[in-house]
């Protein structure tokens, strides 16, 4: 570490704060969804390539590892959507007080959890379609 004075870094923040956790999670899920974009384009190209190309892609897209990636992407998508809406509310100047942002942090987690549950229910109990 240099001896000159440094601006406050990670060590000054209380890492257990959910306002901090929700902020980092928003960035992290955003990065995950960028990888999801890659997967979306791969999937679209596979369909565009014709029946055989799609059949080849499905062998990759239907592996247990890929299923795990979809599960992660569903979680990331639901969270990033709700957390993004919270950011849009902040941009209008509302909910910026500490107590409000702590409350909305919980609201974001709860709302994304509900969305995840709805999608999971539809996928595994009501939908029952294979990729």
């Amino acid at each position: 570490m240099p001896t000159r004075p440094l601006s406050p870094h990670l060590s000054v923040y209380r890492m257990s704060r959910y306002t901090l956790a929700t902020s980092i999670a928003n960035r992290f899920t955003g990065m995950a969804l960028s990888v999801g974009l890659l997967l979306l384009v791969y999937w679209l190209l596979a369909v565009a390539g014709g029946m055989q190309s799609y059949a080849r892609a499905v062998r990759v897209l239907a592996t247990p590892l890929a299923q795990l990636v979809y599960a992660a992407l569903i979680v990331a998508c639901c969270y990033h959507l709700v957390a993004g809406l919270r950011h849009l509310v902040w941009d209008t100047g509302h909910w910026l007080e500490r107590a409000q942002s702590q409350k909305s942090a919980w609201l974001v987690v709860a709302a994304s959890f509900v969305l995840i549950l709805i999608i999971a229910y539809r996928l595994w109990f009501a939908g029952a379609h294979a990729p």
Binding site: R27, G30, M31, L33, S34, L37, L38, L40, V41, L44, L45, V47, A48, G49, G50, M51, Y54, A55, V58, C77, L81, G84, L85, H87, L88, D91, I119, R122, L123, G127, H129, A130, P131
Partner: protein, 128 residues
């Protein structure tokens, strides 16, 4: 005494000469992505299967093709804006940072173009 020129103050674009453009575009793309993402997820959930025939029939509908193209374009744009900030925050060496930013931009343009091309190919019936 301010050292900022009157012209600079009027333009309001700051040291990066870009003003609030990045911030504003990130907001606009995020607002557009709300309905697009909801449409995409719901559409996938109500598809009867992910079989080839079902997907092609779905993608050949004009409304599907249009919304898929919008989704790919806006998602790629929003993703590029987001990844750019992460690179700017965590890559400290100037040379590596510039290289990474150019790679991020090129990758996203490639992804967007490939996605739009794929949707159009299916929509216009190129696939058998």
């Amino acid at each position: 005494m301010s050292l900022r020129s009157p012209l600079g103050r009027v333009l309001g674009t700051g040291a990066a000469r870009d003003g609030v453009r990045h911030w504003w575009l990130q907001r606009l793309t995020s607002i557009a992505l709300v309905p697009l993402t909801v449409w995409f997820v719901v559409s996938l959930l109500v598809l009867p299967s992910f079989g080839y025939g079902t997907l092609v029939a779905w993608m050949r509908q004009s409304s599907t093709a249009l919304l898929l193209i919008l989704l790919v374009l806006v998602a790629a744009w929003h993703s590029q804006l987001g990844v750019r900030v992460v690179v700017e925050d965590y890559v400290h060496s100037a040379g590596t940072r510039t290289l990474a930013l150019v790679m991020v931009l090129f990758t996203h343009v490639l992804l967007a173009t490939a996605g739009v091309f794929a949707v159009l190919k299916v929509a216009f019936g190129g696939a058998p």
